[in-house]
Subunit: 549 residues, 2 copies
């Protein structure tokens, strides 16, 4: 086949668990390998990872896994999937450092080749050129993927920050010259396509942090996503200016700070940095605490502080807590509850929802997305990394730039696009299932289990145990009826007695040896289901167990 | 006692289920009686209502219930609680109309006295003067409550809209003259105390709606809270201008439109209004649909439309849906999922999160809150209707206005404040419990039931059934082990066999007749609980049932 296939196993029509595939007849490369976050209907599920069953049939062709930047939704699934994929990893220095931490946490090791932006690698049919772009984490890259069938521009999460904190502006020259050479297809971040204008520079936050710290009488505490290295650098800068020691608190922040500093992405003077155990030896007004838990996660450092349950950090009147992160959708309540708890303990809390200058997005708004189109001048466009409405808005932007509707593909994960002779057509759609991480296991919570949990979560469970003499089909004892999470047992004597009666009635019709136990169980369950609905307007899960004696 | 007591049974330190009480030795009045919305930890609970057990001990003193405006969090609990309280109701015309609808839905009837803003009523020791203010629903009021111990200004939800749609500006004259006469205490809305400046006028939305409708090629659909009568009026205005018929869809919106129109709060020409059944007889570009479900509620009209499951409304390419409401915290996901589904069906969706001009708050921002302080010149201040962090910000505003910290009370619901001889002190704190509405019942889901649901929701349930010969204590059959919502039964043969073995082991130690069944059950449950945790890192609820044979 003289064709190039593109598809994603996550990260299209969805913001997370990014995994993109480029495939020719003999070679295949993977771009990113991220985790997703379960929505509130997936009770008890910790993480989602891409379904790679399809990839495993092509394992012999996989030449490498390229990671575009260090965010969880782009690298987080590696420890779960690398054992199956076992392909060499390629990433820029900081991304590689974060991946190495991750593997260490899982007691795994994998070869990671560190790439400098600007460097090229060849993986079979693919020659991949790494392009420096800006994002909320340093060392983020786009990829120019040269294939025998055309040049692809893989525009992962980015923004064009013209005044980035590290001075490393996106490599416009390289992007533009790739555009001049001719790009067959642009895959582009579209998460913020609905916002007009430009995303603000990360740099504006430093001024606001400076204002906050200069008014702070007690401990100055900032929370952000642990990989927000630029943000930590700004906090460290204002701490230095106001003669405060810097204390990372919480495992993910401590690890991120150590790694970023070791690799040269964070500038902290040695005598500035304290360990959390040293907090008690310094007066509050000399401390600046960088703390994990910006999403209000249960068990995170800031969450424990808010519950007055942290070993080293106690809130006192005069302390200031700055929440420099927007809640990920679904986390709003947890964050608001945490902010309220911190306020009650005496902290003054500033947060990005009220003060816009405390957080800026890492994603390009519509002007920047259109600028990327103008620079790359692609023949075809595929928005990635956004929901359907954001892809649709991206389509509008592309149309405004003169692109034809039929040249912009709004895909779903699993949908293949085939590039052949400078044309693009839709191919096969790979069926993907949700792969969930729950407790120690991978992929072992299936839909039926989730549905059961949802029903139990809503209305509880009723368990009926019936012991029947197998010879006669007669009850050998009173049926047992148990409620859990349905209504309080104490108040339900009448309901229990009536249901016992109904169970007996349901069985009565059968004389002699019962052959079809399954039928009896169904009958008991549907009779009681209807009865409970009539009585309480609730649908508990009814489970019957029949004991043959 | 020569004292006035003030306390709330909901609506302080919390935005919802407002119920405030003013009490003297012989008389008691209630202000508002609202519902609350459960947070995501209260699985399966539909609504929260105030705990009125304390009030019921004072039932003989209750002279009336005053409702300040027609929002659910201020009137929604009336049908649940009026049967116990049975006091006369007082409200302005539109509020009374909405309450009457509510009672009719519950097949109840209650006497409601309609009050005109500016009118005074006397209820025992209390003479209550109704003051017109602005809010997102028309006919909202503040109360000047004259008591033998001083004058109280009850400043329920409000904003000072200087260009309200109905031209009825807040009654500044009355507020100011009450201030001149001397206000002992100001109870004030504080929900938006964190926002600087003024809240925008509702009127600005009409211009944006006009822009949206003039670009719309198909059906024009708007969703908002059903009681947002001003917003519906603006939608009706632009529909008229663009020669579209108006179709209310969804029970709550239909009811709100009918009631507001009948009472003179909505101006719609008769020949403009269609029934949803008539939708199919008109071309899409002649329709303007007012639809319920702005919070993405399951089963709401817009939710059914988004799932392509509405009898009369089908989305077609060219349709525009405007979401003119911010998601209530906790509903963000549901709203985003709905917007995505509508977009996939072909609608172009505009929503307030992206376009600020599509929604304005009904609550006063800090400048307006300070203006109310300036007008009323109170001796004491109590922020109500906000969370703790919003009360604390209100305190800062009061301090900026020259009020002393000790004259501003940051309360919790149940905390009594005693006014005596122009002084205010904290009194007793009434213990309040959560009263939950679930299915048909009131207050019948207790904490233990909720906790059970949470555990089952997270990790599922394991049921063990053991039949034992009561005489010997020996098993009469293999134990039965059932999983639900834990791990998939099919994949768990090994786990089930091992747990059966463990159950046998747990029982084995007991020779002869078993006396303490409870002990055996606990032993089975704890043995298996530990085993499952070791094997799967999950904590399913383990339930054992022992059948004596």
């Amino acid at each position: 086949m003289e064709e190039l296939f593109f598809y994603s196993l996550g990260g299209i029509g969805d913001v997370n668990k990014s995994l993109y595939v480029y495939e020719t007849e003999k070679d295949l490369i993977i771009v990113d390998c991220g985790v997703g976050f379960p929505d509130t209907t997936m009770l008890g599920v910790d993480l989602l990872i891409p379904d790679i069953s399809y990839l495993l049939t092509k394992k012999h062709k996989i030449r490498g896994i390229i990671l575009t930047h260090a965010h969880e939704d782009h690298i987080g699934a590696l420890p779960y999937l690398w054992g199956d994929l076992r392909a060499p990893l390629f990433a820029t220095k900081l991304t590689a450092g974060f991946i190495a931490n991750k593997f260490r946490d899982f007691s795994l090791s994998a070869p990671i080749k560190v790439i400098n932006p600007g460097e090229k690698i060849t993986l079979g049919d693919f020659t991949v050129d790494f392009v420096r772009v800006n994002h909320s984490v340093p060392d983020a890259t786009h990829l120019i993927i040269n294939t025998p069938y055309g040049k692809i521009y893989h525009g992962s999460d980015f923004k064009f920050d013209l005044t980035p904190l590290d001075g490393k502006v996106s490599d416009f020259g390289k992007i533009a010259s790739a555009g001049d050479e001719g790009i067959l297809c642009l895959m582009s971040d579209c998460l913020r396509s609905e916002r007009s204008g430009y995303t603000l520079s990360e740099r504006i936050i430093e001024e606001q942090l400076d204002k906050e710290i200069s008014l702070c009488q007690g401990k100055f505490m900032v929370t952000a996503l642990s990989s927000d290295i630029y943000r930590w650098q700004m906090v460290i800068n204002v701490a230095k200016k106001h003669h405060r020691k810097v204390v990372p608190v919480g495992r993910s922040v401590e690890q991120a700070i150590v790694t970023a500093r070791r690799l040269g992405y964070l500038n902290i003077e040695q005598n500035t940095l304290l360990d959390s155990k040293q907090i008690k030896s310094f007066p509050a007004e000399h401390l600046c605490i960088l703390i994990s838990g910006s999403q209000g996660q249960a068990g995170s450092a800031l969450n424990r502080v808010a519950n007055n349950d942290h070993q080293h950090v106690k809130i006192r009147e005069g302390d200031v807590v700055v929440v420099s992160a927007d809640p990920i959708p679904g986390n709003e309540n947890a964050v608001h509850i945490m902010i309220d708890a911190l306020t009650k303990l005496g902290a003054s809390v500033s947060y990005s929802e009220v003060d816009d200058d405390l957080h800026v997005s890492g994603h390009a708004a519509s002007q920047e997305l259109m600028l990327l189109m103008a620079l790359t001048k692609p023949k075809f466009l595929i928005p990635i990394g956004g929901t359907y409405r954001q892809m649709k808005r991206y389509l509008k932007l592309a149309e405004a730039m003169g692109h034809k509707k039929e040249n912009v593909f709004l895909l779903e994960s699993g949908q293949q696009v085939i590039f052949k002779e400078q044309k693009a057509t839709l191919g096969h759609k790979i069926e993907l299932k949700n792969v969930l991480i729950d407790g120690l296991g991978v992929g072992d919570v299936e839909n039926i289990v989730l549905r059961d949990r949802q029903q139990m979560a809503k209305d509880g469970v009723v368990i009926v145990v019936v012991s029947i003499a197998s010879a006669t089909g007669n009850l050998t004892a009173q049926p047992e009826v148990l409620f859990r999470g349905f209504i309080h047992m104490k108040e339900s004597e009448k309901l229990i007695n009536e249901s016992k009666h109904l169970v007996k009635e349901a069985i009565k019709g059968h004389f002699g040896k019962i052959l079809d136990w399954q039928f009896i169980r169904k009958k008991i369950e549907s009779t009681l289901g209807k009865f409970f609905w009539d009585q309480t307007a609730r649908h508990p899960m009814v489970l019957s167990v029949i004991i043959e004696v």
